[in-house]
């Protein structure tokens, strides 16, 4: 029976008596959930009992944080809402990092947490925590349901809030007595959200003003972020960029929404962005931001950011407009609808001088690394992965150097292809994210490009991948350091490598112990063969690349400097 026919079957027999737990399961099914992540516990027994024979696949992580990242990556890879359930107290507390990660990157998650019995709340009961209090700053919305009659409506509202407007995580806390209370359900209940409005269409006059500015501009740049992916607006972005002939640079989260093989692509901008993107932003006369939020890692020093540019900002969240940078032409609404309207009103312009300038920068400052080195260069590993996977893989990352190299050297061609913790910068995200993405896309090739210290934080989830026989690949760029911290210590702390390394296990052995494949690569010439083997393995496969220990990520805009004050360009030029 499909989920649709289930709803109609249920709504036909009005006034059914159900327990709270059954209402939760039925509402999840009604919302189209066929897969969720969850870890049981004392107060979750009623819900997990109902899940025992429900048509929902439940993936049990090894730690609730991992489960929350899985739900997050499931959402990023599929475009659906990710669902994570956890028990009260420690279970709920362990969700915090995962929720904050999703909050910063605007990812739709519904988290369901168990709570102690209503009459015990506030008494410091066993496994009690003030879950809504703890998670309020890291969720788009949260609430506790103290009456079973509000349960179905609240869960429905949670899905609606999580997935509309600027998406984000929503948590619903459910005391165990509410889950066991029986309630006579008579048909669906309307949502009650008087304070929640979603603006979809952009203001027509603002769109026309923006189109005029584009038509008058000689040196425009499109600066696009995760909002384009959330709005499923990549096609509309491509249409606009092609019709008006505008170069496109993306934030970390925006990578993939514009095919990086196209000549108009300026790749990523910002602290470790490409020099040609940063120069283009600094010299442009019009910056068109779409679904991006002028994060400090993108803008560098605010006072000198895009100094000659008029700024158009298209965003669904009014609070994003003029938060960091003064915006000349704000357009609030859904990126897809706005880009469609905008594309109708723009005209083609050759912008020969501008594209010539960009082509020169691209040639002069192409991303480079030492290809002659005898050591394993991480950039080479990623280029080889990109080459062998023909740019088709879904890439997840840890945080730090591994993440920046993956963003720089893998060429993304489709949206939802790079899954990375951008805003919060959560180390340990890569492995559980790969699991969540693989579950969302069983036929896709999913590769986690990770650092060894990021991997350390959540490597227990390898058991989850083994249990579900997921063919994920984990490529550890192992330099024995918390690489980005070491890079900053080298550049700004006189090479005092204070506490930026620790004793690590042999990852291939760990992988094998957990039932996965483990491969170690310490010779440069073995890389292509090892990657080839990795790609053919059907089981989870961990490849430990022993990379050059002190390789740095270049270029780099030091914190507090302008985007055009990049370090490392001399290194590129010397290698040209």
């Amino acid at each position: 029976m499909t989920s649709k026919s289930r709803i109609s079957a249920r709504s036909a027999d009005k006034s059914t008596i159900k327990t709270g737990a059954q209402i939760i399961v039925d509402t999840l099914i009604e919302q189209g959930v066929d897969t969720m992540f969850g870890y049981t516990g004392g107060v979750m027994l009623p819900l997990f009992d109902r899940l025992y024979d429900a048509p929902i696949r439940v993936i049990i992580p090894r730690h609730e944080q991992g489960g929350c990242h899985m739900a997050d990556a499931y959402a990023r890879a599929s475009g659906k809402v990710g669902v994570m359930a956890a028990t009260s107290g420690p279970g709920a507390c362990n969700l915090v990092t995962g929720l904050a990660t999703a909050m910063m990157d605007s990812i739709p998650i519904v988290a369901l947490t168990g709570q102690v019995r209503t009459e015990l709340i506030g008494n410091d009961a066993f496994q009690e925590a003030d879950t809504t209090g703890i998670t309020r700053p890291v969720t788009k919305y949260n609430c506790i349901v103290k009456d079973v009659k509000d349960l179905a409506r609240t869960i429905r509202e949670a899905f609606y809030i999580a997935s509309t407007g600027r998406p984000g995580p929503v948590l619903v806390d459910i005391p165990v007595d509410v889950a066991v209370t029986k309630y006579s359900v008579d048909g669906p209940v309307e949502m009650e959200l008087p304070g929640y409005k979603v603006r979809s269409k952009g203001h027509a006059r603002q769109i026309t003003t923006a189109a005029k500015a584009i038509n008058q501009s000689k040196q425009p740049v499109l600066y696009v972020g995760g909002g384009v992916i959330a709005a499923n607006a990549s096609e509309e972005l491509r249409a606009l960029a092609e019709k008006a002939h505008i170069p496109v640079t993306a934030t970390l989260l925006g990578l993939g929404c514009y095919d990086q093989r196209k000549p108009e692509s300026l790749d990523m901008l910002g602290m470790h962005g490409s020099a040609y993107a940063n120069y283009a932003v600094q010299e442009c006369d019009l910056l068109i931001a779409v679904g991006a939020r002028f994060d400090d890692r993108v803008t560098g020093k605010l006072a000198t950011f895009a100094p000659n540019a008029k700024i158009i900002h298209i965003d669904i969240d009014p609070a994003s407009i003029s938060k960091n940078v003064h915006v000349d032409i704000p357009v609030v609404g859904d990126a897809k609808a706005i880009l469609v309207e905008l594309a109708k009103q723009v005209e083609y312009c050759p912008r020969k001088g501008w594209f010539k300038k960009i082509a020169d920068w691209k040639k002069k400052y192409a991303l480079r690394y030492d290809q002659e080195a005898s050591t394993i260069k991480p950039q080479y590993v990623i280029e080889e992965i990109c080459h062998q996977t023909k740019s088709e893989a879904i890439i997840t990352t840890g945080v730090g150097q591994n993440q920046m190299w993956a963003a720089q050297f893998y060429k993304f061609i489709r949206p939802r292809q790079l899954i990375s913790s951008g805003g919060l910068g959560t180390m340990g995200y890569g492995l559980p994210a790969a699991i969540g993405a693989q579950i969302a896309k069983p036929d896709a090739l999913v590769i986690d490009i990770d650092g060894e210290h990021s991997f350390n934080m959540t490597m227990t989830e390898l058991s989850t991948a083994v249990e579900h026989n997921l063919p994920i690949k984990v490529c550890i760029l192992n330099n024995g350091y918390m690489g980005m911290v070491r890079q900053w210590q080298e550049l700004f702390y006189g090479k005092r490598y204070s506490k930026s390394y620790l004793s690590n296990p042999d990852y291939a052995t760990v992988a094998r112990a957990l039932g996965a494949i483990g491969i170690t690569v310490d010779k440069k010439q073995d890389i292509p063969k090892a990657i080839k083997q990795m790609l053919t393995e059907k089981k989870p496969c961990v490849v430990d690349f022993r990379i050059d220990r002190e390789e740095n990520v270049w270029p780099m805009v030091p914190a507090g400097k302008s985007l055009d004050e990049m370090s490392g360009l001399d290194i590129f030029e010397s290698m040209a």
Binding site: G133, P137, C143
Partner: protein, 162 residues
């Protein structure tokens, strides 16, 4: 600049914590915050006084509007409004000074709401500046304790044409 922001919010548990938490998390300063019921039992009104430049206050307004149970947000700056604070103040008032104090209370249109042997409790309402002025004139007699609400405000019906 002083801005009076009025927010209509759902009358639900956790809303005040959400609003206060947002102010703390985003490092905005609250000068005063008053919450009370409205004629609709499902809604409460929060009146928040914020001091900051226009950009900061604009962010405050937008961030408030973003909170799901916040239904409507209005910044009264530049608009004709009626803004009032309420204060209860206990002043030492020995019998020989009482007539002097009474005439002062009358000037401020205050009300004596309790009389003790050596003190008086006075209720005063009005714009914040009037309340401050009353506190100042009471000081020489000796203030025993003060309880003040923050500002509540509402825009006037008769709008000034621009």
């Amino acid at each position: 600049m002083r801005h009076i922001i009025s927010a209509l919010v759902e009358n639900k548990p956790g809303v005040l914590a959400h609003v206060a938490g947002m102010f703390a998390a985003r490092a905005f300063n609250i000068d005063s915050l008053v919450v009370g019921r409205t004629e609709d039992p499902k809604l409460s009104r929060m009146t928040i006084v914020v001091i900051g430049d226009d950009r900061v206050v604009e962010q405050v307004r937008k961030q408030l509007a973003r909170i799901v149970p916040v239904v409507k947000v209005q910044d009264f700056v530049g608009q004709p409004v009626v803004a009032r604070d309420l204060m209860l103040v206990t002043i030492s008032a020995p019998p020989e000074k009482r007539s002097e104090i009474f005439s002062m209370i009358e000037m401020f249109r205050g009300k004596v709401v309790d009389i003790g042997q050596k003190s008086l409790m006075v209720e005063v309402s009005g714009p914040e500046s009037k309340i401050e002025a009353f506190v100042n004139v009471c000081k020489p007699y000796g203030i025993k304790s003060v309880a003040r609400t923050g500002t509540i405000a509402m825009s006037r019906q008769a709008k000034i044409e621009p």
